[in-house]
């Protein structure tokens, strides 16, 4: 049973499908995210696919500040993803609201709405940093599962 669980966890970390949501970013972070898919970085080496559909996604990559308009959209996208799922906040705005944090329409960083697993700082972060963030998130997902299964066993 333990072996099967370990197998499933390995499969999960080998095929993370990303959903990218621009939550009011200036497009700086978005361009860096899409740069990960180019032949230079080629994230498909790690089985990463950039999907456009929350039903198929495992990892939600969000960039930009959350405002009162799009917080519902963000929460809705997260709700439509089948678990186990992961949220990665990208860039200064996604982390805290960035330079927009005191604007009247801004709620703040992504973590005001969703449970964020990994924070990738930078304005914008390099593609290498984004790939690192996703990999870190996958490790966290695996260790969480191991903890959960140990807890259930005891």
């Amino acid at each position: 049973m333990q072996a099967i669980k370990r197998f499933i966890n390995r499969m999960r970390s080998k095929s993370p499908w990303l959903l990218h949501f621009d939550c009011g970013s200036c497009n700086g972070c978005d361009i860096e995210i899409l740069a990960c898919l180019t032949p230079i970085y080629d994230v498909e080496r790690f089985g990463i696919i950039n999907v456009g559909n929350p039903f198929h996604a495992d990892v939600l990559l969000t960039s930009g500040t959350v405002n009162h308009r799009n917080k519902k959209v963000l929460a809705n996208l997260y709700a439509q993803m089948p678990s186990p799922k992961l949220v990665v906040a990208i860039g200064a705005c996604g982390l805290s609201g960035g330079i927009f944090r005191e604007a009247y329409n801004v709620v703040g960083g992504i973590d005001k709405v969703l449970p964020v697993d990994v924070y990738v700082p930078g304005c914008p972060p390099k593609p290498e940093a984004i790939i690192d963030g996703v990999v870190l998130g996958l490790q966290k997902l695996q260790s969480l599962h191991e903890q959960l299964s140990v807890g259930k066993g005891a």
Binding site: K14, P39, V51, G52, H56, D58
Partner: protein, 283 residues
């Protein structure tokens, strides 16, 4: 009796394994053609294993039923192929699966799913007559729809049915969801139609449709082997060459609209098959 059981088991095991390996090879080749490195060979298996153990979010119950029907029909079609059954029977069982996938997509309310389903119906409309004509060609040459007699035929059928092989190539391009005919869904259609036909399938049910697609790949490549059934070497070369050509076509052409697909595939396909069939009758 034991032979039958072994053949059924072979069909059920060979389908997913060969199909997965072919699509893994496909992804690596595609990546190399785009000067990328590409995923590992076993990546399709990782994807399916992950999807199978995800939470099942179901849009409605019909979709689950349709996903199971699709995989049942495509696996039965492949098993019938391994049992050397009747070609027409295999064709129609396979068609049931293809239609069930569309019914599942139509049962949701998502507009992307509907666009994908409508386009898939047009794709079925394009390739289904051609596939029947290919089978008719086999009948005219060998005098039987049975696979046993086609495999027992003394000379390679490719020499007598060259145009029908090209027609089968068109069918294969549509069925493998390759450019220029990847209208309904394909590996690259993540952004513009959000995977179209497969938009509302998720988790384990998406995995089922993927496995069913592998069965279909193996079945269609099995059809290719009929054209050089006299020795194993010829079959292998024919399959590898055809699949390589499919990937090449996929990477060198762009997606067209359904009007072009229907007129082009019917125009070229029907003409080529009629020429070949008339030649067979006369010759």
């Amino acid at each position: 009796m034991t032979r039958t059981v072994i053949l059924i088991a072979c069909g059920l095991i060979a389908g997913p394994i060969l199909g997965g390996l072919f699509s893994g090879m496909d992804r690596i080749l595609t990546a190399r053609m785009q000067s990328r490195i590409g995923p590992p060979l076993l990546q399709p298996f990782y994807d399916v294993a992950k999807l199978l153990f995800k939470e099942s979010l179901v849009v409605n119950v019909w979709q689950v039923f349709c996903a199971y029907c699709y995989i049942a029909a495509s696996s039965i079609a492949l098993v019938l192929f391994f049992l050397q059954s009747d070609l027409l029977l295999i064709l129609f069982v396979q068609a049931v699966g293809a239609v069930m996938l569309v019914v599942g997509a139509l049962s949701s309310t998502s507009p992307y799913s509907h666009i994908g389903a409508h386009r898939e119906l047009l794709q079925i409309l394009s390739y289904e007559p051609l596939l029947v004509l290919v089978v008719v060609g086999f009948y005219l040459e060998t005098g039987s729809f049975k696979l046993t007699s086609i495999y027992a035929w003394r000379e390679p059928l490719l020499l007598k049915l060259p145009f029908l092989f090209i027609v089968l190539g068109y069918v294969l391009t549509i069925k493998l969801r390759k450019s220029p005919f990847d209208l309904s869904t394909c590996h690259h259609a993540h952004q513009e139609i959000v995977k179209g036909l497969l938009t509302d399938y998720s988790g384990p049910f998406l995995a089922l449709t993927e496995i069913a697609h592998w069965f279909e790949i193996v079945l269609l490549l099995g059809f290719c082997t009929l054209f050089w059934a006299t020795n194993w070497f010829g079959m292998a070369i024919l399959i590898v060459a055809t699949y390589f050509l499919e990937v090449l076509v996929d990477n060198t052409t762009s997606r067209m609209n359904w009007r072009w697909m229907l007129s082009y595939v019917w125009g070229v396909g029907l003409t080529l098959s009629l020429v070949n069939l008339i030649w067979l009758r006369q010759g």
